[in-house]
Amino acid sequence: MKYAYFPGCSLKGTGRSYEESLLPVMRILGIELEELRDWNCCGATAYMSVDETKACVLASRNLAIAEKTGHRALVTPCSACYLVLNKTQHYLKEVPAISNGVGKALGAVGLSCHGAMPVRHPLDILLNEVGLDAIKQKVTHPLTGVKIAPYYGCQIVRPYATFDNAYQPTTLDRLCEALGATVAHYPLKTRCCGGSLTGTMPEPGLHCAYQLLKEAVKRGADLLATVCPLCQFNLDGYHDQIAAKWEPVRLPTLYFTQLMGLAFGLAPTQLGLQRHLVPMKPLLPVTA
């Protein structure tokens, strides 16, 4: 199976271990992700706060390039990219003022976007295309004894809950179980991590992260599994500040793709685990 692939800016910067783990894991499962030629930033939430039409212009250039590839879907691992690309598709269909502007902008450079390319998250592909059985077959180092707090964050389940329940998502839970891990009851699985605020209004942003980490610690989790580069950064990067402001709640946050890689027997350095600020090594004896 082959898909068009939109990594997004974070996966080339602070979230590069996400890409470093995503690509080999998908390859093991027989999925090829073909990176879009000369893709650009999706615009994220920041552009939406300035100008909605231009935000959609930015996103739709990627959709236009993706449509030209002829692949069955565009896969994007970053939650913000996933949301923005889906939202743009939605606006192109439903809001004439925006679709006219986008049409004009794309037309100026000979591009067009029909809104026909499904935008999907790797988690969706893994659960609904590859299937848990095929994933289980590749598990050579089951994560037995590791207790995981499955953290979905916001933007892959809201507002376009295309592949999971918006209130009680289960895809990540089921994936973790398939890897042999134990899943913690984690009531905050879809609560926002505050990542978009940490840089600008640190206290509210960090308070969100603190609450998420504290609850995961309380539930006896060894680590948090995440699907989003911003969540990973926010939950991994600010432990000093959180400890200074409230209390230490040190817990590593791993991409689900890294967990899969470990279970498939890949070395931690092949999965970018050395890049994380809160190390997970002592927690995962299976990889030693």
């Binding site: 329940n165 009531p187 905050l188």
Partner: protein, 664 residues
């Protein structure tokens, strides 16, 4: 028209006070009509529907030898009947009258007076062109069978059946559950008077059972309805209860004798909070007082291997019959009252409130059973963890006023929750009870006073829709409890409040099979799926099918007083027809020219009222005028043009069109 005398039309335009006259120049309309062909008299008048207005028509018919009447006024729904009567009193066939709707079709919907007047000219020109073609028609009379079928044995069906039976009418009451009583039988006390539901309901249930004029068929369903108003043929299916209803005396000795020593199957009547055996009676006052056997769990019915200790216990009575099968009864009735009630909202559909995930989240109906002394906890309020709660939170509008589930207000949950809250406070005054609401809707007699009583009892009301029920604790007192997160909109901030028990005030929905029932009885549904009344104000228990009436929550959520009032109204409406002895049928029906009918049968499946039959002997179609509603579908579909319809014949319609188009 050759043999008929010269056409002489009387034309009248009504001011309807200022409803028409403020937008349309009525005098100009009258002047315009006066010069149209065949018009002998043309007048405008302030209120044509008044007695002087009607007398004006009658006098003119005599003085001016009129033989056609056109009135331009309001909607035919409102006054066509009035003017037809006036025409008849004047000595003409009432169908020589035609009506123009200048109000709903014109003055009420336009804002430019001169254009509206011009449109009125076109409208009356059409009517005056059409009415000379009208023929004298006769009203058809159909006799009414005096028996009535009541479907559904909740409080609505019970009350309707008793009202009719007490008036001497024969009633069949069909209930699909093993007992009548419906939702009301599950209630402990009733708001706002707090009188005991069983004390007022069970006497009525036993009256139903013992009434000589009522045939009660429980555990039965209506499966077929044929015929038309006054003459319905009904087939009723009796489901096997594996107990002969005529032989069972309700001694209940079979229940302790069952090989299952302890009850272990979910007890539906108690909202699955309690357990029952395979042989059981839903509740002690169940009516009929007859046990039944659940074939899903009965050892003998499932495996054929059982000591049949129940049969032994039954002894000489020989009421237990494992070979019982479905049976059917065919009956004839003149009227049907549909009182099939409602279904409660499935709280799993709002996972944020944790029903099914957290053991101490209950529905309001579960708490209703719990608080009942004959219920599964003998009246004690206890969580599924066996503990008595110190704090209870009620969440209102669960599955109501929510576009993601049900948009409508379920009307009774505010009062119902306040009732349960008061009962909890009475049982255990130290319990802290909170009610989370969006708006308190307490209309109706005694309801506001009941709200005030709730406030004075110290029940805490928080105006805010609950965001979620969570076990995420952030303070020590929240640990291990259910935390409600909600904006206190009156205070203007978000609060977190821990509870030991959460009660979800679940809304009311149409029954799951409401669409099947709608089709069976030829009714309509509103967008939300409740049965549609013929008119929301003036015909609230009638449907669009004559002789089919609705009562209670199947028409829309309502409380017991409103349900009983509707049931009485439906019974009265049925009695009107029965006591008339016959029904008059509008002659706007279709009829088939036997000479032209080719017997192609294409009209047969199209008729929505199954009014057309194929006569095998003549190989021609035939329309039952009593069933025909005059929809015209067959007229348009007939390939040989052999079907025509009274009041909608080609020359009538074409002249009407020509009349509209002739006006410049």
């Amino acid at each position: 028209m050759k043999d008929e005398p010269e056409i002489r039309i009387g034309f009248y335009v009504c001011h309807c006070g200022t409803n028409i006259a403020a937008m349309i120049d009525c005098q100009a309309v009258a002047r315009y009509a006066a010069q149209l062909p065949f018009v002998a008299v043309s007048r405008d008048y302030k209120y044509m529907c008044s007695d002087p207005g009607q007398e004006l028509i009658q006098r003119d018919i005599k003085e001016h030898a009129l033989n056609r009447i056109v009135v331009a006024s309001c909607s035919p729904l409102l006054h066509e009947h009035t003017f037809r009567n006036a025409t008849e009193k004047g000595g003409l066939n009432p169908y020589f009258f035609h009506m123009v709707n200048l109000r709903e079709h014109n003055s009420w919907v336009h804002s430019d007076g001169s254009k509206a007047t011009a449109k009125a000219f076109a409208q009356i020109r059409a009517a005056i062109a059409r009415v000379p073609h009208h023929k004298a028609l006769e009203v058809l009379q159909v006799p009414i069978h005096p028996d009535v079928l009541v479907v559904g044995g909740g409080i609505a069906g019970i009350h309707a059946a008793l009202t009719l039976a007490n008036a001497g009418k024969k009633v069949y009451l069909v209930e699909r559950e093993p007992t009548i009583g419906g939702h009301m039988a599950k209630f402990d006390k009733t708001f706002p008077t707090l009188d005991c539901a069983a004390c007022i309901l069970t006497p009525k249930m036993s009256q139903v059972k013992s009434h000589p004029k009522i045939t009660l068929w429980s555990f039965s369903e209506v499966v077929k309805l044929d015929g038309y108003v006054g003459n319905y043929q009904i087939t009723v299916k009796h489901k096997p209860r594996y107990v002969n209803e005529d032989l069972c005396v309700g001694c209940l000795e079979c229940i302790p004798a069952c090989v299952f020593k302890t009850p272990k199957f979910p007890d539906e009547f108690n909202q699955n909070l309690g357990k029952r055996k395979p042989v059981y009676i839903p509740f002690p006052q169940a009516t009929p007082q007859v046990v039944l056997i659940d074939p899903e769990v009965c050892l003998n019915l499932k495996t054929g291997k059982c000591k049949q200790t129940c049969v032994e216990a039954c002894g000489d009575r020989q009421a237990i019959d494992f070979d019982q099968r479905e049976t059917f009864d065919d009956i004839k009735v003149g009227n049907v009252i549909v009182a099939t009630g409602f279904k409660t909202f499935d709280a799993h559909r709002i996972p944020q409130y944790g029903y099914g995930a957290f053991p101490n989240v209950f529905t309001s109906l579960e708490v209703e059973r719990m608080i009942n002394t004959s219920g599964p906890t003998s009246g004690a309020i206890v969580g599924r963890d066996g503990k008595h709660p110190d704090t209870v939170g009620f969440i209102l509008c669960v599955g109501s006023r929510d576009e993601k589930t049900n948009k409508w207000c379920s009307r009774t949950c505010c009062m119902h929750s306040m009732k349960l809250a008061q009962l909890i406070k009475e049982h255990c005054p130290r319990t802290e009870v909170y009610i989370f609401y969006m708006d308190i809707r307490a209309p109706g007699k005694g309801a506001e006073e009941f709200y005030d009583k709730s406030l004075r009892m110290g029940i805490r009301f928080i105006r805010g829709r609950v965001a979620e029920v969570t076990d995420w604790a952030v303070t020590p007192e929240e640990e291990g409890r259910l935390v409600v997160r909600c904006e206190d909109t009156m205070a203007g901030f978000v609060r977190r409040i821990p509870f030991d028990m959460i009660v979800l005030a679940i809304g009311k929905e149409p029954q799951a099979d409401a669409q099947d029932v709608r089709r069976l009885f030829n009714m309509s549904c509103g967008t939300e799926g409740f049965f549609l009344e013929r008119h929301p104000k003036l015909a609230p228990v009638s449907t669009f099918t004559d002789g089919i009436f609705i009562a209670g929550a199947c028409q829309g959520p309502k409380d017991i007083p409103d349900t009983v009032a509707q049931a009485g109204a439906a019974a009265a409406e049925a009695m009107v027809l029965i006591d008339q002895g016959h029904i008059e049928i509008e002659p706007n029906t279709a009829h088939i020219s036997e000479v032209d009918c080719s017997g192609c049968k294409s009209c047969l499946p199209l008729c929505p009222y199954t009014a057309i039959a194929f006569i095998e002997t003549t190989k021609k179609a035939s329309i039952n005028a009593a069933l025909c509603k005059g929809c015209g579908t067959c007229v348009a579909a007939c390939p040989s043009g052999s079907i025509t319809q009274n009041l909608f014949e080609d020359d009538e319609i074409f002249s009407e069109i020509a009349g509209v188009l002739a006006y410049e």
